[in-house]
Amino acid sequence: MRTIFATLAVLILAVLPVAAPWLQFVLTLAIAKGFAALGVAVLLRAGLISIGHAMFFAASAYGVAFLARAGIHDFGLLLILSVLAGALVGAVAGSFLVRYRAIFFAMLNLAVSMVFYALCAKLYSVTGGTDGMPVPVPAVFGIVFAEPVFKNVLFYLSLGLMVLVGVSVQRYLNSPLGHALSAVHTNEIRLEYLGIPVWAVLLIAYVISAALAGLGGAIAGFAIGRVVPDFAFWTASGHLVLIAVLGGIGGVPGAFIGALFLELLHSAAVTVTDSWNLIVGITLIVVIMFMPQGVYGLFARREVSSL
């Protein structure tokens, strides 16, 4: 049942841009943010809220821009290197951040990400300040596409990656390493007594979540064609947490459902009124009040009851 749903949903996503070409960009961006929100959701398993994941999103996006400036024009290489860059920043930041819990973890993540934001905005001669840096159209496996074709390729590649990475993360979460995360949440001391190093468990999770955010950032960079410091601003981090909570932290699809929901809602709201913030806000309140499990909770709960 679950696989049928998932396949159906992915197929519909694949067809939507054919019907409405402008949706393609919105969907690409939603998938990109879905990756980043998935990263946040991984840490939420361990009860850790990161209000700073936009840093990894931006680090990777800037990675693409810098590598392209340095003369690398291969899409695959750019994607891999920039995700590694995101993961590297994650490893450095994570090495000291995973010692903290609860509000301290959230706030320190926020602080570090705002330092990163300030650097992006202030190092005017390096990063172009608030005007940002351009991301040129790269060659995909040696083939140079025109921009519209590349955007198609990017969309379907992201869709494929969404399935691939989604399945991998699901497997990770179901592995002992993944279950250890929930154990950190329930009783950390017991985990230590069992001989499992909590610090290592969390650091691995942190690096994975940073890499996921990085993957999202790289895709967003390619889709938007320009990287600006706003990518790393704290509201962007908050946005990611919101997506994760909104979609439901129960499973991998939640992050993507949340991202699609929020992006489509945003697109619909801005067409109606200048006060689009109000519409988005009210909808979020409604979802949080009446669907505490998130949008994905609707499906997940049904699964349980039909067993």
């Binding site: 402008w22 393609q24 706003d230």
Partner: protein, 462 residues
């Protein structure tokens, strides 16, 4: 059509939710219906949005996408633009529209950031009735939209983004800017300052901390150093955009005691700065230059003798503007509707829409009276020379606009309750612009004091 689709989705989702929370818990089809309904609705919206309209026949209405800040702090600058657009479009439609076709504007809020702006641009561009985009206010958004405009082949007219990077490569076919460029805008102040105060030695700069502030400082400094090499920059301050408090910066300015304080703060930032700096004597101890000072003339009591300008020729009380009955009428209607006279962002928007209107006229003259395509419109904008409310906008081969620059100082008159601009100079647009394709900073460094001598003097524009 799209609204109908949305409402169908909402209605169906709600009915499905009722099923979910209601008594039908055992039925697994309810889930399927929710998913299927949602997606069907989404497809319906998509199809409705993607249906193209015929291009060559005169459509029922002409769509314009207008990008400006309608929320957040930058709305202080964006709303005068939107207000002006409302007025001008109303005026155009009262006369039967552009070439007989009524104009319908869709406003897009730039406060949603580059991602949202791009998504909206794509959505509007997918509808063939939206033939021209007036985008955007923020330079970052213009830079992000420019490649998209080329890709989707939609004529895109920047109404306020001044960054010199926008058209620097000279390869843009669909991006136009009939409004000016940071290079002439800020060189003009350097020249005016040296004419008015030839013995200036020390200069302090206080600009907002983002690309516009840094670019302006760089251009102004480069021009001063080229025209008077012994000028020293004693302080460069970049307060955060949107700060409410400038006391620290004002203390720095007070201790540095520069001959000149240059600033391109704008909006509420500028009002705050002026209110806090005036009591501490900054305006008496130094010659202050407020590059965007005209926008606050009607709001804060600026002392006499402050050098202000309009980043172009968009001063509604300039001699040229006063001689044009259209401009006078526009200013009066603006005052009647919004309680204030237009500021230069309003004029920039109005002039941009006049530019678009002129492009339609030219394109239809060229193709024998048929309704123009997007490509024909872009073609008509290329190299065009359009009479605006306050002067002319000449489009160069690289699509950048040449507009004159008006600079002056604040003076009190009996005619208005607020200070106006006096002792004005009007520099010709082409005289302050580097050639197309030339690196602007390389060009500025070649300027000589003799160059400034060849230009009109303060007070010559009456």
């Amino acid at each position: 059509m799209a609204f109908k689709g949305i409402s169908i989705v909402v209605a169906r989702c709600l009915s499905s939710l009722e099923l979910l929370f209601g008594l039908h818990r055992g039925l697994s089809q309810a889930n399927l219906r929710l998913v299927a309904d949602g997606l069907a609705g989404a497809l319906a919206i998509g199809v409705a949005a993607a249906t193209p309209a015929a291009a060559q026949e005169k459509p029922g209405s002409l769509g314009l996408g207008i990008f400006t800040f309608t929320s957040g702090p930058a709305a202080a600058y964006g709303m005068p633009g939107k207000n002006a657009a409302d007025l001008i479009i109303e005026e155009i439609n009262a006369k039967g529209g552009i070439e007989g076709v009524p104009v319908r504007a869709t406003y897009v809020d730039e406060a949603q950031g580059a991602q949202g702006v791009i998504a909206e641009y794509r959505r509007l561009a997918a509808d063939a009735q939206n033939q021209v985009m007036v985008a955007a206010l923020s330079s970052a958004n213009c830079l992000a939209l420019a490649p998209l405009a080329e890709q989707l082949e939609v004529p895109t007219v920047g109404w306020n983004c001044d960054t010199h990077q926008l058209l620097i490569d000279g390869k843009r076919k669909y991006v136009f800017r009939p409004n000016g460029n940071t290079v002439p805008e800020f060189i003009a102040y350097a020249i005016y300052l040296l004419d008015r105060k030839p013995d200036v030695k020390t200069v302090a700069i206080i600009n907002p901390d983002y690309a516009f502030g840094h670019d302006a400082a760089k251009i102004f400094t480069a021009a001063l150093k080229a025209l008077k090499p012994d000028v020293e920059i004693v302080a460069e301050l970049y307060p955060k955009l949107g700060s409410p408090n400038y006391q620290t910066e004002i203390s720095r300015l007070a201790t540095a005691r520069p001959d000149v304080v240059f600033s391109n703060l704008w909006g509420a930032d500028l009002e705050n700065f002026v209110r806090q700096a005036a009591p501490r004597g900054i305006f008496t101890s130094s010659q202050v230059i407020l590059a965007l000072g005209e926008t606050v003339l009607q709001r804060v009591p600026l002392p006499d003798g402050v050098i202000v300008g309009v980043l172009g020729d968009g001063w509604w009380m300039s001699p040229d503007a006063k001689a044009n009955p259209e401009t006078a009428k526009f200013a009066e209607r603006y005052k009647a509707r919004f309680g204030e006279y237009p500021v230069f962002p309003s004029i920039k928007m109005a002039n941009t829409l006049i530019y678009v209107k002129a492009a339609y006229k030219a394109a239809m003259q060229k193709n024998g009276g048929k309704w123009p395509t997007r490509a024909e419109l872009a073609d008509a904008m290329k190299g065009s020379k359009v009479a605006t409310l306050t002067g002319t906008a000449q489009t160069r081969a690289d699509n950048d606009g040449l507009v004159d620059q008006i600079v002056g100082v604040t003076v009190k008159t009996s005619g208005q309750q607020f200070p106006v601009i006096g002792d004005m100079v009007r520099y010709k647009g082409e005289s302050l612009m580097p050639q197309a394709g030339q690196d602007p900073f390389a060009w500025i460094s070649t300027l000589k004091p003799e160059f400034a001598k060849s230009l009109p003097k303060p007070g010559s524009y009456k």
